[in-house]
Symmetry: C2
């Protein structure tokens, strides 16, 4: 499992679209707060490998391109740790 | 925007993986409760068009194949209406 603190440290760029609390202010972007860690790992890897297309995927493919497996694990742990709904 | 009641009526098959309350009991599947409606529409359409691959996408491609644009709008409205975190 990933490291929440390391994920938080890595998450600054994510917050621009997905919100400081993991709740996206722009409704075309996904809320991440309280999402399952395993699903987040899977989604980030699918963006990194460019298997996940459609919607706004091109943005995420670019963002995920530079993430290591460890970065992905840490980011997933961090967003899974945030309270769902941003409360 | 979609119709919440029509979406609920269509959601029985979704609940098998995504939970009766939109919280997936299996951590490789996404929680949907309280997710942004617009994002859910985008994701479902990307599965239906088979643009979204990777992870468990093959399952969702099959599920989404038979959904109309109206079905997608209604399902998105329904899951967006559920309380985040399943509470």
């Amino acid at each position: 499992a990933g490291n929440v603190e390391a994920g938080k440290a890595k998450s600054a760029v994510c917050a621009a679209c997905h919100g400081q609390n993991g709740i996206a202010q722009i409704p075309m972007y996904a809320n991440l707060a309280g999402q399952h860690e395993q699903y987040l790992v899977s989604a980030l890897k699918a963006y990194r490998s460019k298997e996940r297309n459609g919607g706004m995927a091109a943005i995420m493919q670019g963002q995920a391109a530079s993430l290591s497996d460890e970065d992905i694990a840490n980011l997933a742990a961090y967003y899974a740790s945030l309270p769902a709904g941003g409360k």
